[in-house]
Subunit: 596 residues, 2 copies
């Protein structure tokens, strides 16, 4: 059923050589003591835990799926899931990036990020249980009252309780303004909440003794639309003041979905019948509060596809070295065998390198964003914090959409390397593709991410945030513009940077005339920006690789080849995307609906 | 579980208005009587049959899958499959394109092609049972002895018996030269065949009383590699001379595979234990004979993805008109509803139009190729036959790879239109994506198709076949070059034509130095050729649409808009592909295998 080994060497390269995390963290008082040793130790432990405990449950969990008991409304996760969760909890993994005030270890996000990649490679469906809990932790940490935090956070930090986000209803997913669940205030300050939610990941399961649901609902006097949505904490069991479990709340799982993938994660229909809830944040400001969790979840979804890209690549690589089939067109490469290993064939290499480049580009990118989150949360200088905030806001939709689209391509290419065996469940490759498909949809479809990027993050501030990222690129270009060896990277990077600037202005002008121009350009625009980001990071990685090429460590040779592949084979997608983005809205809108 | 209605209007447009099939068939003595009436009648009946009988079994068949009984080694197809097959057989559908000498109706391939699209839209997994039989019919018809044909063909034509192709073994799929199954000649002229085959679609099932396996195996004195492979007919039951069933042959199903998709088609491991077989064609020339079936199957696989593209589009369209979510960015479009139908959003339209354009382009293309097959088989003039033969040879890998790659994109976009619901099995969209995935793999992976196109079909004859297709394009350009209204189509078509010529020469030159340059360029090259083909057909369709725009039939307005969408949004992929194809082999080969 395949294999997974955390790509420790590349993770260390990204953290220590590309991002200089140790010295970056020294600027952040909270993390000043986190040195390379600590980082490498955590990575090493994470690697062991994910490959030994979590990965072996991935394929079996997919085949078995979750079980829903109509009589008790209970959900049982696949064999081994609960035991693995207990091990995870006992080892203290959930508390890694959490606030020490509530029992956390207070380690930086940039480190948690690497762990998160490993867990997603090992088992996306399993990791969604604790992964969503962490989002609930962040939301409550940012918006809960002191009392709420004292009561609930230690349990989320320890992993004894898990969390969910209950947004979607059958008639509204993207358009939360339509939601109908109702919350009625009670004399004791609590609320009675009634409604139906669907697609609630980890809404019910047997891993933890309690589940904290973060539920969006409307107050009786709420304005219509998104301005009338409030956020409530609705625990499955209402905790007593000492956090022992009290009464069972009236929020129930009504069934679980049969899905294309992530079979081992329970996707629940949830019914609330006058369930007791506590408001989080201010009335009618629920979406603001939920956005903390949603932004964390969006980055998390990008990480899911990064994880799948890596594990699919690893397995395709093993197969491509092992499987013999046909002779190389340029002459026999393995004369002692009846055929050459398929990795000699150029197109097999194209498929492998596509996955490899998307994994390595995504790793650099996500680690960078995670580091910006650490700066945003902890940098003593306000300007630095604001710059980090802007970069995270700008890049979050790119992480979500670009990496999940790439993950779909990469897992599919990795499957293709197996030929017919890729389609057979037993080999495990088709699961990666099926699992990867949801990542383009949930937490805001990739179209929504693109509109968020182009409409809100770029055009709404006249490109100011985009220019902040552009300034990093510009500085790098100026620093290396005279280095002949870097020419092959700097020239296309600078060229793309200029094109993005022009494209942005052009769309902005068109949007003055017709707002639909934004919707017509958003998806290719986001992918262009994604490539600009990857071109920047691959150029930076290539620079390091060039400097250390003679070190004797062949890692740098491989890194340089991957960067070259990226520029030669993947970056050219921008030539298509820019044409598409510039083609305007008319080719989409001219056809009357009834003529489709 | 969705819906399917054959796109009769567009099929008629392609056959009658684009290809002028009636007058084309008049040139072919065998089909001179086939007029528009007959064609439309068959299409109408096919439409009813596929939407009423076959489509309703698609989702249930996927959920149930096939059953293998370890005790009896029997395979049972999902509920309803057998009854539908009996109806199909009794209605005479299998005999449609077959030779009247063996009970066929002798109708042209270009008509069978449309029926085939419908059946694939309705239920790919079901249609594979009779679809493969037709391939076996063609192989036997071309290479069987008179005795073999007399005994077997009437049963294949009537659908009482079905056929398979048994090529793949566990250690060889692409590389048939490695195959190990052995055939030992017997004194009575038969052979005893022993070996193990895998991935045998429809290898065992309960739809027909007998199954004719076409099996590749080696004679004792056979040269190694592909020059030592012979083809054998191995019936499940050995027929008596009067074609009643005789003894059970020793070819057995050892198990069926659990797969990503096409669950309702049995993918069998087949064991041959001294099974009795009859040689088809000459010893050691088995691959030549099998290629008749393989070429038919390759076109058939393209049709599978065309079918999936169409049905996925139809369902996404229904959903996009029905589902309300968010307001149009350019102002409220459905003031009487709480939100606008999602088809108002530009990016939803981009997804729909992508599927629509790939369906319509694929339909025109496949119908054209099917017509060439009719010309190849039946044209009285040898030059015309040869030209048709060359076009079919050139375009077969393009049908297989381009349409299946597009089908993967299109079904995935159609799923995405559904948002979260697209991922849920109940809605049926995710099945189309899963089913579409195999089409990029079987009957020669899409990489193999690309190598066939670039290496064998284009470079091996110095581009002669490609120039034959180019001449059709050139004639069309010259005919319409001065028509201003056609400018928007003619200019990019002519431009791409020139680029393909240059690209072909460039790769040809590089290949002199290093044959790996072919493997490095083949996949993007095939897609460029695919776009050249689609650009040609969309330009031709646009011309007709422009001429009839004022006819009052809004069909032409839609056709024109689809053509414009194709040129604006899909054709620009060539800008990426040409860069990739030109980037050369070094970016794929420079990395040593051990450094991956």
């Amino acid at each position: 059923m395949g294999q997974y080994n955390a790509p420790l060497r590349d993770m260390q390269f990204v953290l220590h050589e590309l991002l200089n995390v140790e010295s970056e963290l020294k600027q952040l008082p909270k993390h000043a003591e986190v040195d390379a040793n600590i980082i490498n130790q955590v990575l090493g432990e994470g690697s062991k835990f994910t490959s030994r405990v979590i990965f072996p449950l991935n394929h079996s969990g997919d085949r078995e799926g979750c079980h829903f008991d109509k009589a008790t409304l209970a959900v049982t996760t696949p064999q081994g899931f609960k035991e693995a969760y207990i091990q995870y909890r006992k080892a203290g993994w959930p508390s890694l990036p959490c606030d020490p005030e509530y029992g956390g270890q207070g380690l930086p996000m940039v480190l948690y990020n690497s762990l998160s990649e490993m867990l997603n490679s090992a088992n996306q469906a399993w990791y969604m249980y604790p992964g969503l809990s962490h989002g609930a932790y962040e939301c409550l940490h940012a918006h809960g009252t002191e009392e709420q935090k004292a009561l609930y956070l230690p349990k989320l930090v320890s992993g004894e309780w898990t969390g969910t986000m209950c947004l979607t209803e059958a008639h509204c997913g993207t358009d939360l303004g339509l939601l109908r669940s109702k919350a009625t205030p009670q004399a004791d300050g609590t609320y009675r909440i009634t409604g139906s939610k669907i697609f609630i990941s980890a809404g019910e399961h047997d891993l933890a003794e309690n589940i904290l649901h973060l539920v969006l609902a409307r107050l009786p006097d709420a304005p219509s639309g998104t301005r009338g949505i409030s956020l409530f904490l609705v625990p499955k069991f209402i905790p007593n003041a000492d956090s022992t479990l009290g009464a069972r709340n009236t929020i129930y799982c009504g069934g679980i979905e049969e899905k294309m993938g992530i079979h081992a994660n329970s996707t629940c229909q949830m019914r609330l019948d006058d369930a007791t809830g506590w408001i989080i944040g201010k009335p009618n400001k629920g979406l603001n509060a939920m956005f903390v969790m949603m932004n964390a979840a969006r980055l998390g979804v990008g990480m899911q596809s990064l994880g799948l890209t890596e594990v699919a690549y690893q397995n395709a690589l093993v197969y491509a070295k092992d499987r013999i089939q046909m002779r190389s067109l340029s002459g026999i490469k393995a004369p002692d065998q009846a055929a050459d290993p398929i990795i000699v064939h150029p197109d097999v290499r194209r498929m492998l390198l596509t996955a490899k480049a998307y994994a390595e580009g995504g790793r650099a990118f996500c680690s960078f964003v995670a580091l910006q989150i650490d700066r945003e949360l902890n940098h003593p200088d306000e300007t630095a914090r604001q710059e980090a905030t802007d970069l995270v806001a700008l890049l979050t939709p790119v992480v979500k959409a670009f990496i999940t689209d790439n993950g779909w391509v990469a897992t599919s290419e990795a499957l293709q390397v197996y030929g017919g065996h890729g389609f057979i469940a037993e080999w495990g490759m088709e699961q990666y593709v099926r699992d990867a498909r949801i990542n383009m949809i949930y937490e805001g479809t990739n179209t929504i991410q693109s509109l968020d990027l182009l409409g809100r993050k770029v055009l709404m501030d006249n490109g100011a945030k985009l220019r902040k990222f552009g300034a990093l690129i510009q500085a790098f270009i100026e620093e290396n513009g005279t280095d002949e060896a870097m020419n092959e990277f700097i020239t296309p990077l600078a060229d793309l940077g200029e094109k993005v600037t022009k494209l942005t202005m052009e769309i902005g002008m068109k949007a003055f005339q017709n707002q639909d121009e934004i919707g017509a350009a958003a998806v290719p625009f986001l992918r262009v920006v994604g490539h600009l980001v990857y071109a920047y990071f691959f150029a930076r990685m290539a620079k390091i690789a060039l400097e250390k090429l003679d070190s004797g460590d062949t890692f740098y040779k491989a890194k340089l080849a991957t960067a070259r592949f990226y520029f030669a084979r993947l970056l050219p997608e921008t030539a298509m995307l820019i044409r598409q983005a510039r083609s305007g809205a008319a080719n989409l809108l001219d056809l009357e609906t009834e003529l489709f």
